[in-house]
């Protein structure tokens, strides 16, 4: 089975995010970039599928040159090769434009299964997988917490409010991976050494067969007008060093009289 993973490099969860002076973006220097944590579940699942039934694993990512580092992490964990979607024309792509590019790359690879993370932890949109699935005419199952492949089908447990949906999708399918699906491995030292030699192929505008106006900022349907800081939260009332019952009484009263939530 050929399993393809769509991966995104994002700032580390702990990174401090500073908005640029013009409010049009974030300051990228001093940010530690990592593979989006949900994508680790996708990479791990792809590797496990190959370990179990053989085949090939391919990681695809779109982004600037630095995103190859995150692809190397996926290769060090055990994926076979990478495709780096990169072209000056791609810069500024929104979810739909990104999906068009990824879909073009995926089509050429013709995988049996496409795995993505539940969402990338930068913009938290959780859109690209659905766009990719629709563009390729494939079924999608979002937020998969358990996966079983049998008889050419993916049987997925997908977490919903108050329970789980069991969804059967024919292959190929696009699945997004949620916490609980597996426990991602760490890259081993030999894995890291091997990853350096694994192939990462560039995939540009000409390879995609798309025209420049379909991608990049010009083709974007969602335009970011401005980045906004969090509203200032007035300092809270924190009680300490008093009798427990006294402190609790005060807070309970404040919740009714001041906050009006009880």
């Amino acid at each position: 089975m050929k399993v393809l993973v769509c991966m995104k490099q994002t700032p580390d969860t702990e990174a401090t995010i500073k908005i640029t002076g013009d409010g049009k973006g974030i300051e990228e220097q001093n940010i530690k970039w990592v593979m989006s944590p949900y994508d680790e579940y996708a990479v791990e699942e792809a590797i496990r599928i190959k370990e179990k039934q053989g085949g090939e694993t391919v990681v695809v990512s779109m982004g600037p040159d630095r995103c190859v580092e995150a692809m190397r992490t996926a290769l060090a964990m055990g994926m076979d090769r990478g495709i780096h979607c990169s072209d000056p024309a791609f810069v500024g792509s929104d979810a739909l434009a990104t999906a068009k590019i990824l879909a073009a790359a995926i089509k050429k690879e013709n995988p049996d299964l496409v795995l993505c993370g539940r969402q990338a932890i930068d913009f938290d949109q959780a859109q690209v997988p659905a766009f990719v699935a629709e563009l390729l005419g494939l079924p999608q199952v979002f937020m998969v917490a358990k996966l079983e492949l049998k008889d050419g089908k993916a049987v997925c447990n997908r977490r919903i409010e108050g329970g789980e949906e069991i969804v059967e999708a024919s292959l190929p399918a696009v699945l997004t991976c949620d916490k609980g699906l597996n426990e991602p491995r760490y890259a081993s030292l030999p894995g890291i050494m091997k990853a350096k030699k694994k192939e990462v192929k560039k995939f540009g505008l000409a390879d995609s067969g798309l025209s420049a106006d379909q991608v990049g900022a010009g083709g974007a349907k969602v335009k970011v007008i401005q980045y906004l800081p969090l509203p200032e939260r007035p300092p809270g009332k924190v009680f300490k060093g008093e009798d427990t019952a006294e402190m609790v009484k005060k807070v309970v009263r404040l919740l009714r009289d001041e906050a009006k939530v009880i």
Partner: protein, 327 residues
């Protein structure tokens, strides 16, 4: 020309969700500014009767796809139903709730229609006839304001962002929609729904949440929080540390790798307040923190805090709430 607002009214087991009525409220406000009416799209089996409830809350028309095919949620079936309703209603704006279903469905519908989506928005404004949506990004460390080109403008709204629409006593015209899809065309099908949270208040819809972290020390101690939650009708949540330590099930995890919640009151017991946790609850209107460590970062986000042992605080608090609510 496209006008008005269409909302996706989610139902499960023949019951509408709270977020549907929140969407009708904000949908009406948007419709008043962009012009045109307010309508809803509904898919399910034997659910036509629900249109009356939507009508009472302000929907003038309800586009209904009713049949076996829609008995359980399927991305492709429901996306076809919504796309067919969009074709008939020709709305300027299409709203979804950020629920498990909405998250799966909204981008698929957008892809079908060749437009974008603003996901998980916490504020919507109208300027010059166009909608501007604001949404948290980077684990809630800042916001972005976006505009959507193309029609309809698809916006998904975080539950509990807007109050539910008041009942105005209207009635909706039911318009039957042929989604143009048959069972054999569906490549993914829901075969079963396993319920685990029966009778519990759903975290993402909860007005109040009582959450425990690593400081709970043991699974059995969550009983203390359940007792407190029962008194104030709150849902019980947990931090990743509590879930990873085996104190609480994963389906009640609040945070980046769990659920994003947006209650009026969020009470954190024994939760330090890591970025991952804040990402899931920082839009809560009022935050209360109880932790014996005065340096816990959660106190910087809290409106009210108590530096003390939660095992001393919780039982007293439960009794105090009982007294207060009995007044």
């Amino acid at each position: 020309m496209a006008s008005g607002v269409l909302i996706f009214a989610e139902q499960r087991d023949g019951k509408l969700r709270k977020v549907d009525f929140e969407l009708l409220n904000i949908g009406k406000q948007i419709a008043d500014k962009v012009g045109g009416g307010l309508s809803a799209v509904l898919a399910g089996k034997g659910i036509e009767g629900l249109a009356a409830n939507l009508g009472k809350a302000g929907a003038q028309k309800v586009f209904v796809s009713d049949g076996d095919l829609f008995a359980l949620y399927s991305t492709e079936g429901y996306a076809a139903a919504v796309a067919a309703a969009v074709k008939q209603a020709d709305p300027a704006v299409l709203l979804f709730g950020t629920t498990a279903m909405g998250k799966d469905l909204a981008p698929r519908v957008a892809a079908k229609l060749g437009v974008g989506v603003a996901s998980d928005c916490t504020k919507v404004e109208v300027e010059g006839g166009r909608v501007l949506a604001t949404r948290p990004v980077y684990s809630g460390k800042c916001y972005i304001k976006v505009e959507l080109t193309g029609t309809p403008q698809i916006i998904a709204i975080r539950p509990n962002t807007y109050p539910v629409a008041a009942e105005a006593g209207g009635s909706a015209q039911v318009v039957k929609v042929d989604a143009g899809v048959t069972a054999d065309k569906l490549k993914a099908k829901t075969t079963n729904v396993v319920k685990t949270g029966e009778g519990k208040i759903e975290l993402t819809e909860a007005e109040k949440i009582v959450s425990g972290g690593r400081g709970m020390k043991d699974k059995a101690n969550f009983k203390l929080l359940e007792d407190l939650a029962a008194v104030i009708r709150a849902a019980v949540g947990a931090s990743r540390a509590a879930v990873d330590s085996g104190y609480a099930p994963i389906d009640i995890q609040v945070g980046q790798t769990g659920k994003v919640v947006n209650p009026s009151l969020y009470m954190a017991f024994g939760i330090s307040g890591a970025i991952q946790h804040l990402a899931g609850m920082r839009t809560s209107k009022i935050i209360v923190a109880v932790n014996k460590d005065p340096e816990a970062p959660i106190f910087q986000k809290a409106d009210y805090g108590i530096v003390d042992d939660l095992f001393k605080v919780v039982p007293v608090m439960t009794e105090e709430f009982k007294k207060l609510l009995a007044e």
